[in-house]
């Protein structure tokens, strides 16, 4: 596996889920590089990594998603066999049905990991994603790496 210099995340936050989880709207942000067939694939050739993202609407059939991840640092067979491992839309629907969570967010976010130069991600992409999640009324986010 390529060894990157890891940046310590500089955060100060009082964000906390202050409603019952059974009432919360939950979204997933994954780095598994999923995209729908009508969306462009991630660009594996970009120096420093592709910092773009794809929005995956709730109700998307997971079997229709494509995987565009460039990394050979992980075993792809898991997410190829079951995309719920990184984007658990089916699992969230089950949890909502069973009232363990309130509901599933209308949109979920897919990045391609392998971003060794994250400055553009931090400056531009991440704030845009935060704004989208806010506008969707998301109460909490599950981040799934691969």
């Amino acid at each position: 596996m390529a060894m990157y210099r890891y940046r310590r995340v500089d955060w100060k936050s009082d964000a906390v889920l202050d409603i019952p989880l059974s009432q919360a709207r939950i979204a997933v942000v994954t780095t598994a590089a999923f995209h729908t067939p009508d969306q462009p694939a991630f660009d594996e050739s970009l120096r420093g990594g592709d910092v773009s993202f794809r929005l995956i609407p709730v109700g998307t059939r997971l079997e229709d998603l494509r995987i565009a991840h460039r990394s050979d640092a992980f075993d792809h067979r898991g997410i190829e066999a079951d995309k719920n491992l990184a984007l658990p839309l089916d699992r969230l629907e089950e949890l909502a049905r069973d009232r363990r969570i309130g509901c599933v967010a209308p949109r979920h976010v897919s990045f391609m990991g392998s971003i060794p130069a994250p400055a553009r991600l931090i400056a531009a992409t991440a704030p845009e994603v935060a704004g989208l999640l806010c506008s969707d009324g998301v109460d909490g986010v599950l981040l799934t790496p691969v």
């Binding site: 955060w11 964000a15 992980f74 066999a81 491992l85 969230l92 935060a130 909490g140 799934t144 790496p145």
Partner: protein, 81 residues
């Protein structure tokens, strides 16, 4: 950024030692290979246990990074699930 917008987050981590360096607000450490962040393919019950263990951390206020290890005890699953 998402936390800065007022939305709490929780990460799954498969590399605890890396997460300890990066220091996100909340992380659930899973003992699985890279590429299997929510457990085993098609193990719906197991995936739900991991997801719920992670989501329950959203209610914990944090002023410093919080990492919990996933307790792979199937008995914690409520009956009927």
């Amino acid at each position: 950024m998402i936390e800065g917008a007022g939305i709490p987050t929780v990460s799954i981590t498969l590399l605890r030692e890396v997460t300890e360096q990066v220091g996100p607000p909340r992380a659930l450490s899973i003992d699985r290979p890279l590429g299997f962040p929510l457990g085993r393919p098609h193990d719906a019950a197991g995936q739900r246990r991991i997801i719920m263990s992670a989501l329950e951390m959203l209610s914990v206020p944090v002023t410093a990074p919080l990492i919990r290890a996933f307790d792979d005890d199937p008995l914690v699953d409520p009956p009927g699930l």
